[in-house]
């Protein structure tokens, strides 16, 4: 019934979909197995993509030829570029999406991708021979052969949902959990652990009073995620902001004795930065209110998502507390919030290419690795898909460095440090964030992907065109001299000090209070030179000029870091032999098996002198 595949992807969430698309686009024969064909690419939590640090990841996925950016652009109902007032490293694209349209668009794109077969079934085991995976076994009893397998099980592995004192198995509300796989993997020697996450109640938008809330509209102009030209919506939907108050907190507290969080029924560790409302009240008792975002779920639905109110308290407590919130006096609940516990596999068991150290050709991606968030999952799926394809053809792995991409930071963090709580990306995790901007993801990554055969010719052409135009604009700005008489009225209008003689345009642009867009608007000669270039390219040139000092500072640090990064540790290096290392260092190094000295230096508990000792020992 089934042919032999190059790559089987288990799970069709954000990670699984990207994995299937990447492997198939590279030419692998792919089977995507999901428990339910109706729920491909679900947004299980909030109906939004991107945000700070996450938006950068989506841009990187797109630059590499993944689909998340395109799907997000096609299904968005609102777009905002966050942090425009800060430096360009912080500019972060974020969209609200139509939950159903997002899922449909993904499915359409996958269906239109050659080389992908679909099958609805639950995978309950793996075909393993000689420490190598050869396919999967399904609950319907099929044994399907493949060269590689990518597991992207999300929150489904032995998922347990909690609402108050009620507790039942499930991967999402109203969906069955996946059972059996964890146990099979543990038998093979994998270590597993529990995490938890939660989601807020969904509310009937018709029952809310928006007059009592602040409106948060989208940007007047949508730039979007994809570097390709994807049509953007003509109109947008607004979000709304409201706040809890002391009375809301008091009511929520009446349910604490029945909360699975506080009664010890949940063992898993939840994310500190995305806490449930009961957690916030408990940990930050001094705060009298917490901010809530009312996010529409789509174009054609009245359902709204109550961001900031994640909870697993009993339904009636959720309901009573909700109705005290300004604007929610008559609120009706569609579905209650809940907490979910699930199995994950500490990611220190993986190699850089996301293949497991224990079983050859078996890859893990997404929440199974202890991450949280669609973007974090999607980028792992993309990399796992690429590397599963590479493995199936015995080609070398594709690995991004910390200085290449947020994706590189994420994977390096996971496999070097592991994670004890659901891992979410922050810009502060990226030591080189000034280099890893959303605006240059294509310049950083597309060429690499194009050479692999993943990014299309169209993408590569656009990158080449952008690079050349940026250089031309920089030359113009460096050569164009503007008279003081022309400059001063403009400088005066933006409260910048005037000049006494003519100046190069570039010199004016370097002032902190000056923007190229403003200069173009006020200086006709400059405008005439630049108006033919696309806006995105002008912005790129402006960033490169204005922030050059900082960009160079970081490049210097990258160069220093890469000295260690380029020193590879032989694969079978025996750390136990080195008596000069402390016990803790020896154990950690043996467990994680760092690939380079740079990675070794980032393992927690490994100090600089350990690295020096390694340097001396290594080699030959």
């Amino acid at each position: 019934m089934f042919p032999k595949y190059d790559v089987i992807v288990v799970g069709a969430g954000h990670a699984g979909c990207e994995a299937a698309a990447a492997a198939a686009n590279l030419g692998s024969k792919v089977l995507l197995i999901t428990m339910n064909m109706q729920t491909i690419a679900q947004m299980s939590c909030n109906p939004a993509m991107g945000g700070i640090a996450k938006g950068q990841i989506v841009r990187e996925i797109d630059a590499l030829g993944g689909y998340s950016g395109i799907v997000s652009d096609r299904s968005m109902i609102q777009f905002r570029m966050l942090n425009k007032s800060k430096g360009p490293a912080m500019w972060s694209p974020r969209s609200q999406n139509d939950r159903m349209l997002f899922s449909i668009t993904w499915r359409e794109m996958l269906e239109q991708t050659p080389n992908i077969d679909f099958y609805q079934d639950m995978v309950k085991g793996l075909l393993i021979n000689d420490r190598q995976v050869h396919g999967v076994i399904t609950s319907l009893g099929h044994e399907i052969q493949s060269k590689t397998v990518v597991l992207t099980n999300g929150t489904f592995l032995n998922g347990i949902i909690h609402i108050g004192e009620k507790k039942f198995g499930g991967g999402r509300v109203a969906e069955k959990p996946a059972t059996g796989i964890t146990e099979k993997l543990v038998e093979l020697g994998f270590q597993s652990d529990r995490l938890k996450t939660g989601t807020p109640p969904r509310v009937d938008g018709r029952s809310l009073n928006y007059n009592k809330m602040e409106e948060q509209p989208g940007d007047p102009e949508i730039t979007g995620f994809s570097f390709l030209n994807i049509p953007k919506p003509q109109k947008q939907k607004s979000c709304w902001i409201t706040y809890t108050n002391k009375k809301v907190h008091d009511i929520l507290k009446t349910g604490f004795d029945r909360s699975p969080m506080f009664t010890g029924r949940i063992d898993g560790i939840g994310p500190r930065y995305c806490p449930s409302i009961e957690d916030k009240i408990n940990r930050f008792s001094e705060r009298e209110r917490h901010q809530l975002f009312i996010e529409p779920e789509g174009w054609n639905t009245v359902e709204i998502y109550l961001n900031g109110f994640s909870t697993s308290l009993p339904e009636e407590v959720q309901y009573e507390a909700l109705r005290i919130i300004p604007g929610f006096e008559n609120a009706k609940i569609f579905r209650p919030g809940y907490a979910i516990e699930y199995d994950y596999f500490p990611p220190t068991q993986l190699k850089y290419c996301l293949e497991t150290k224990l079983i050859k050709n078996l890859f893990f991606a997404g929440q199974i690795n202890g991450t949280t968030g669609y973007e974090e999952a999607a980028c792992q799926g993309l990399m796992a898909g690429i590397n599963a394809h590479q493995n199936s053809l015995r080609l070398p792995p594709v690995i991004l460095k910390r200085s290449d991409a947020y994706i590189g930071v994420l994977i390096d963090d996971l496999i070097s440090k592991g994670t004890q709580e659901p891992y979410r990306m922050f810009t502060s995790r990226a030591e080189f964030r000034t280099l890893l901007r959303q605006d240059n993801a294509d310049l950083r990554l597309t060429e690499l992907s194009y050479r692999l055969g993943l990014a299309s010719q169209e993408r590569m052409d656009k990158v080449i065109e952008k690079k050349q135009s940026v250089e031309r604009i920089k030359t113009i700005l460096n050569e164009l001299v503007i008279d003081a008489e022309e400059l001063n009225p403009y400088l005066h209008s933006v409260n910048s000090s005037s000049v006494s003689e003519k100046q190069k345009a570039q010199k004016i642009l370097l002032r902190p209070d000056i923007e190229l867009e403003g200069m173009m608007a006020h200086l006709p000669r400059l405008r005439s030179f630049l108006s033919s270039f696309p806006k995105e390219t002008i912005e790129q040139a402006s960033i490169q000029i204005k922030y050059d000092v900082y960009i160079e500072k970081e490049k210097e640090l990258v160069q220093k870091m890469n000295q260690l990064e380029d020193l590879e540790i032989p694969e079978n290096f025996d750390f136990k032999k080195i008596q000069a290392l402390g016990n803790e260092a020896r154990e950690k190094l043996t467990k994680i098996k760092p690939r380079t000295l740079g990675q070794a230096s980032r393992i927690s508990g490994i100090n600089p002198s350990d690295v020096q000792i390694l340097m001396v020992y290594m080699g030959r």
């Binding site: 901010q291 810009t427 030591e431 000295q563």
Partner: protein, 459 residues
């Protein structure tokens, strides 16, 4: 394996720190010949043959630092495999340090412990057995220098730096919070408070830089005061201590034997015996009260006090009072009972059985002088007194501090120019990096932990 190309040229003292007949400074890296050409202008080393020796003067800012022998080794025929020169100078730590500083000013950087060996190994110049031995050495060196590092910042500065660093991490966390959670309703970093904190760090940094004037650290060594009543035998002890050392007493600039101090080198550590002239002049005819006053003055100046007494004269009660006095003055002291040649050591021990730490000697018969020396050295090695052997560590701190000051300046400028937080954060991270070099390590997790423990963050 890939051959390693190191961008920077490194320099360090290759011989043990302290006073020796000669001291060897090793330079290795791309800019080695460029640097030595600057310092040794009478030759062009780019044209000299490998494995050749050259005698001449090291000059810096037009001043002759030392007459030296320079040996040159061309890559790959050198210890590290890179271009290497070794400068053999006279053994004064002060002069050697000046030469090292001159190398640094010309583009070298101070080597980390074991760094020459690392380069040697990575360039395939050492085999595994050699490397193993060196690795153990590096491990032990590093732990000692790490321990020493925190001890030897003077006047409790290290504690202060740690506190400032923690406050800076807190601020940096606030800025990160402001950046990563700008969409939430969280409190943000107050720029005025940040400015004040930066000023404070800057002040401490500057005073540390001043206190670290390298020459002084080298020149000072450990100051030792020998005090005691007239006739306790101070002058005799002085001679006993100086006796064998006389040959290698160094002429440290600004000090001569006749005026204020003698310098002795015990196991490579420099001890400066202060007010030796006073001991000689006043040894017999000093008036008691004036003598006490003088003793107190000396105690204040000294890093280490040797209290010498005649075991036959002093009562245990008197000794108790003296000990009290020392505790009040917070002096680091050694109690030394002299003249055991007149009674037996045994009976002296019995008399002072309540004070087991007393060292019994006979200055005149030179009995147990070596024990006293060992005790002096141990006091230093225990880290209770500033040590000569930490010059290099100090120099590293000194350079970290100077870079810290530059980064602090960048932060200040950034705040003044109201540049965005993510750019200010780059310079704050640089500050934390250099502070971390002095006080220990820093990781991003410090900041994240702070964020998560203190702030309520939505989604």
């Amino acid at each position: 394996m890939k051959s390693v190309i190191w961008e920077d040229t490194i320099v360090a003292l290759a011989t043990p720190p302290g006073i020796g007949a000669i001291g060897v400074i090793r330079l290795s890296g791309k800019k080695t010949f460029e640097i030595i050409n600057e310092l040794f202008p009478s030759k062009n080393f780019a044209e000299e043959a490998s494995h050749s020796l050259h005698v001449g003067f090291i000059k810096h800012h037009g001043e002759i630092l030392d007459e030296v022998v320079v040996s040159i080794y061309r890559s790959p025929r050198s210890y590290t495999g890179e271009d290497v020169v070794e400068i053999s100078g006279h053994g004064s730590p002060f002069v050697l340090q000046q030469i090292i500083n001159a190398c640094i000013e010309n583009g070298a950087r101070l080597a980390r412990p074991g760094e020459f060996t690392q380069r040697a190994f990575l360039n395939g110049k050492l085999d595994l057995t050699q490397a193993e031995a060196v690795a153990d050495l590096i491990a032990s060196n590093t732990s000692i220098s790490q321990k020493a590092a925190l001890h030897n910042i003077r006047g409790g500065f290290s504690q202060q730096l740690k506190e400032l660093r923690e406050r800076l991490i807190r601020f940096s966390a606030l800025i990160e919070l402001e950046l990563d959670f700008s969409q939430e309703d969280v409190e943000f970093a107050d720029r005025r408070q940040l400015q004040e904190l930066i000023d404070e760090v800057d002040k401490v940094t500057t005073s540390l830089i001043d206190s670290f004037k390298l020459g002084n650290v080298v020149r000072n060594g450990i100051s030792v005061a020998i005090i005691g009543k007239p006739n306790a035998g101070k002058s005799t002890l002085l001679n006993a201590l100086l006796n064998e050392e006389r040959a290698i007493v160094s002429d440290i600039p600004g000090t001569t034997r006749d005026t204020v101090e003698e310098v002795i080198n015990i196991d490579g550590i420099l001890f400066r015996l202060i007010d030796t002239a006073g001991i000689r002049q006043h040894s017999t005819d000093i008036i008691e009260s004036a003598g006490m006053q003088r003793s107190i003055e000396k105690m204040k100046q000294a890093d280490l006090v040797i209290y010498l007494f005649d075991v036959n004269e002093i009562t245990t009660q008197e000794l108790g009072e003296i000990k009290n006095n020392f505790s009040i003055q917070q002096s680091r002291y050694l109690l030394v009972g002299n003249k055991i040649d007149l009674v037996s050591e045994q009976s002296a021990r019995e008399k002072f059985s309540e004070d087991p730490e007393i060292l019994f000697i006979s200055a005149i018969k030179q009995q147990h002088i070596d024990d006293l020396k060992e005790r002096m050295v141990n006091t230093v090695l225990e880290g209770e007194v500033q040590t000569e052997s930490t010059i290099v560590t100090n120099a590293r701190h000194f350079h970290a501090l100077r870079q810290l000051r530059t980064a602090l300046g960048d932060v200040k400028k950034g705040i003044n120019d109201k540049i965005p937080g993510d750019l200010v954060a780059i310079d704050i991270r640089r500050c934390l990096h250099y502070l971390g070099e002095i006080t220990g390590e820093i990781t991003n997790e410090d900041q994240l932990d702070y964020i998560f423990s203190k702030f309520c963050i939505g989604k």
